[in-house]
């Protein structure tokens, strides 16, 4: 290929400036730059741009943002969210002691367990809404639990049971902080839940290749809900979905939240 009128590609220019080209190629690029109209000017502009970027976005600031993103994505320690990991390591001895007491309690007073389970089942059956996420494969569907692992491209079916609740919204937030509204189907539609039996949403949702997780939320209430206000609050914490429950509960309207996180492969 003739090099005479070829504009040096940006990547090669960057690598030349970074001194990351083999010696021979570096010499070749230098020659090409000399031949190229404004070639050397491009190089100078790149140097100026480096300076400008590092001044505008200093390394110390970027380091903090990047590390905080890593922690928020929960990828520091085998998928455990950063804040959980820090809390766990800080209080690990206390947790171990608590765990030991709980085991003793469970071993020596088994009838307590029965009461515990029964009480909790009663609360759920009495009127709390329920939220279901299924992995859909052809005609088959498998119910997914919190922190189950899924891959990009699979179809997810979302369903709910309204219980006593009359209004609700369902959305998910992915590892990039992008919100997808699943119910109601369109922004302008009302948030009325269908009472009674379990309701599957009309359309299944294909998971894309956003990293780390897809966190689903079902926010519901017996009272009419202000969708706009809820979504504004959600937008404030898209990068920290683990905070959604506490943030939503600060809003008026007796809102309740069920969250279910799917971890991306």
């Amino acid at each position: 290929m003739s090099n005479n009128k070829r504009r040096v590609p940006d990547l090669l220019l960057e690598q030349y400036l970074l001194n990351e080209l083999p010696e021979e190629e570096s010499r070749r690029i230098e020659e090409l730059l000399k031949q190229e109209k404004n070639g050397m000017k491009r190089l100078e502009k790149l140097k100026e741009s480096n300076k400008e970027i590092l001044e505008k976005h200093p390394a110390s600031v970027m380091n903090r943002s990047i590390r905080s993103k890593v922690e928020e994505a929960g990828s520091v320690k085998e998928g455990m969210p950063g804040f959980l990991y820090r809390t766990f390591t800080r209080y690990r001895y206390l947790y171990t002691a608590i765990g030991f007491v709980v085991i003793l309690f469970l071993v020596f007073i088994p009838q307590r367990i029965e009461h515990f389970v029964r009480d909790h089942e009663t609360i759920r059956i009495k009127g709390g809404a329920e939220f279901y996420i299924y992995l859909k494969e052809g005609d088959q569907k498998k119910r997914l639990k919190n922190n189950d692992t899924v891959r990009a491209g699979v179809l997810i079916q979302v369903a709910y049971k309204a219980g006593d609740a009359r209004y609700g919204i369902i959305f998910s937030i992915d590892g990039r902080g992008i919100i997808t509204l699943h119910f109601p189907g369109r922004q302008q539609d009302p948030c009325n839940l269908t009472p009674g039996r379990k309701m599957a949403l009309k359309e299944a949702y294909e998971l894309d290749d956003a990293p780390d997780y897809e966190h689903f939320f079902f926010i519901y209430s017996v009272k009419k809900i202000n969708k706009k206000r809820i979504m504004e609050k959600v937008k404030e914490v898209t990068k920290k979905p683990y905070r959604i429950k506490e943030e939503i509960k600060k809003l008026p309207g007796e809102l309740k939240v069920i969250g279910l996180k799917l971890v991306k492969e």
Partner: protein, 162 residues
């Protein structure tokens, strides 16, 4: 061994940000994508043992930006200002949408590395040899991938316009 993010950023950050800017055309999104590149590097630190990390970082940046564009398209709620802009240039908009749809169709069944090869060669203007060096394939491997890609694109084009 932990990665020194500040050192890495000081050396490669500007290059990565420029790359993200050139693909996303939006400063805020580019900054976010640039951070995602380093997040990915931190997660997969073992992979940064390349002789020339710039190639790898450049490729990661390209992929992250292209994935962001694809993701936004899938989840987009049309912004009224964008819509007005697009309607003002309706022919151009339609052409762009068609081209985008067609490209998505072509690359949906291709390996991610094929997309990298195509981007480096056709968009960035690297020669086959330069592309091969950066992807870590032989020049014949790159040539073969592009030949197959072009063949598949050709037959898809026929079906698309039928």
């Amino acid at each position: 061994m932990d990665i020194d993010v500040e050192m890495l950023y000081n050396k490669y950050g500007p290059m990565v940000l420029r790359r993200c800017r050139s693909i996303l055309n939006n400063e805020e999104k580019a900054l976010d994508a640039m951070q995602d590149v380093f997040v990915q590097v931190l997660k997969k630190k073992n992979k940064l043992k390349a002789t020339y990390p710039s190639s790898l970082l450049y490729t990661i940046a390209t992929n992250i930006c292209l994935n962001k564009i694809r993701h936004e398209k899938r989840h987009s709620t049309v912004n009224s200002e964008d819509l007005i802009d697009n309607l003002m240039f309706i022919d151009d908009f339609q052409l762009k949408m068609e081209a985008r749809e067609f490209l998505e169709m072509i690359f949906s069944s291709e390996k991610e590395s094929t997309r990298d090869i195509a981007f480096l060669h056709f968009v960035d203007g690297l020669t086959l040899q330069e592309t091969a060096d950066r992807i870590g394939l032989s020049i014949s491997g790159v040539r073969k991938r592009l030949r197959l890609l072009m063949a598949r694109a050709g037959s898809m084009k026929e079906k698309y316009h039928e």
